[in-house]
């Protein structure tokens, strides 16, 4: 805590922050394009095609549109909380990128409790949704916020518990060391990834992560047919864009965590000249995240929505006991070996 930063350290830190956050923000904006394009292909549509080649400039057009739209605050809304809610949901979503290792050196800071830090920060994101729904002073947003907070509390339990098995094997909470612990191989060619040791934990993690980020088939918080758009029904222009950004950022965060914990993070084959070896880990990491995002989009475009009681029953009566059983089994094996 008490070491002082020299000015060159400070410069390197600033460059890392700018590179990571610049890259992440750009990627988030283009995720909307990926989602629309992939979903369109699944449903035999062309998707966005008009703005730029392959519709590639569509996110920029959307961003401009968000900027110039009228910013409506409902008459009976609680003005302060209404304006604060999108900020409250976006800041935690972006903060978690400060501990994610995008490569051996491309990480803003490696906290010793990095994994818990991400869980702590993302658990604050629910306030954005709850306050947004409540401050709108309108019934659909309120119901969406209620559902969402109940859902997030329920699934946060199994999400956190599913990780415990991995932690017992890796024996660390630092994200960089989690990646390091999966570096070697079995029999020379099978990578030592935790997914082979903890397949049940991985399944629980993926299901709860989808529920935690309010995505289909768990998007009860905004289910269009029942609640118009859930907690952000009353939001327009940039505030709506901030909610959307936060949702995509959370998607990337849970995907990055899944990659780090179960798929070896930035590890992968390193070949070629020196500069390529330096860049490849980040490439592997981003590709693995992208696979998860692709899976998310496929889920959204193919699977129908759960009913609310099914969602709650599934969370409490299936996922929670399963994750507890997984912890018990893992601790037995760890204690014996």
């Amino acid at each position: 805590m008490s070491e002082y930063l020299t000015s060159s350290d400070f410069m390197i830190l600033m460059i890392k922050i700018i590179v990571i956050f610049g890259g992440v923000m750009g990627a988030l904006v283009y995720l909307t394009w990926i989602e629309r394009k992939v979903m369109a292909r699944v449903q035999m549509r062309p998707g966005p095609t008009r703005v730029g080649p392959f519709g590639l400039l569509q996110p920029i057009a959307d961003g401009l549109k968000f900027l110039f739209k009228e910013d409506v605050v409902p008459a009976n809304a609680n003005r302060f909380l209404y304006i604060a809610a999108p900020v409250v949901s976006l800041i935690p979503a972006l903060l978690s990128f400060s501990v994610i290792p995008f490569g051996p050196w491309l990480q803003v800071t490696d906290l010793s409790v990095g994994l818990l830090f991400i869980f702590a920060i993302t658990s604050l994101g629910v306030y954005g949704i709850v306050l947004g729904g409540w401050a709108s002073n309108s019934k659909y947003p309120l119901m969406g916020a209620m559902r969402s907070s109940a859902q997030m509390i329920s699934y946060e339990l199994s999400l956190t518990l599913s990780v415990v098995g991995v932690l017992m094997i890796a024996n660390t909470l630092s994200l960089n060391q989690l990646v390091m612990s999966q570096q070697r191989t079995w029999l020379g060619f099978i990578p030592r990834w935790n997914i082979f040791l903890q397949p049940v934990a991985f399944l629980i993690y993926v299901v709860s992560a989808v529920a935690e980020t309010n995505r289909l088939p768990f998007d009860l918080a905004e289910s269009e047919q029942e609640l118009v758009a859930g907690w952000h029904t009353e939001y327009s222009s940039l505030k709506f864009a901030m909610f959307m950004l936060a949702e995509y950022a959370n998607m990337v965060t849970v995907s990055a965590l899944a990659t780090i914990m179960f798929f070896g993070g930035w590890s992968g084959p390193l070949v070629g000249p020196h500069w390529l070896k330096a860049a490849l880990p980040t490439f592997w990491f981003v590709s693995k995240i992208f696979l998860f995002i692709f899976f998310y989009v496929l889920l959204r475009s193919t699977i129908p929505r759960f009913r609310y009681d099914q969602l709650m029953n599934f969370g409490w009566k299936v996922l929670l006991p399963l994750s507890l059983a997984n912890i018990l089994a893992t601790s037995f094996v760890v204690a014996i070996s």
């Binding site: 010793s112 409790v113 818990l116 830090f117 658990s123 629910v126 409540w134 209620m146 946060e156």
Partner: protein, 163 residues
């Protein structure tokens, strides 16, 4: 630098704590409490207790306070206007209790020896906390879990009259 951070977040925590009491609207009180908990966890980080700081946010700010806010919104409580009248007799208990608490805190702080600060890096680590929980403080730890279990069963009994 650390001192500036300490004074800023200490002031924030104290201000938020006062705001919890002063606010008329229950929701604003709850939100101030969340702010206070978060600011306190920054103080923990400054002391080198990263694990405690993170757990404080996960448990209190991220779980318990969500339930508080949830209930407040569900009931949609009106602004508390005649509350002071209803709770008038509490003053007579509150002032002595507050003074007693102040005395306890001062007495404890008075007896604290200034540390050398050499060990602080490892005291707050998850390993160290786990070690002491399962050796020195095993009995309180288990008794606490039993208490929580009793509270859980009690809550279920209250919620479901016809079991």
């Amino acid at each position: 630098m650390i001192q500036i951070l300490f004074f800023f977040f200490a002031a924030l925590a104290a201000g938020a704590a006062i705001n919890v009491l002063v606010q008329k609207h229950v929701l604003y009180s709850a939100l101030s409490l969340i702010l206070m908990l978060t600011a306190t966890s920054v103080l923990f980080i400054l002391l080198g207790a990263d694990f405690l700081a993170v757990i404080q946010i996960i448990v209190y700010a991220g779980a318990i306070m969500v339930l508080f806010v949830f209930v407040i919104m569900l009931l949609n409580l009106p602004v508390d206007e005649d509350g002071a009248d209803r709770l008038r007799w509490l003053k007579f208990i509150g002032i002595p209790l507050g003074l007693f608490f102040l005395f306890l805190v001062t007495a404890t702080l008075w007896n604290v020896q200034a540390g050398t600060g050499t060990q602080s890096r490892f005291v707050g680590s998850p390993q160290a906390i786990g070690q002491s929980l399962f050796t020195d403080y095993l009995l309180p730890f288990e008794v606490t879990s039993l208490l929580i279990l009793i509270a859980l069963v009690g809550a279920v009994v209250f919620a479901k009259k016809d079991l």
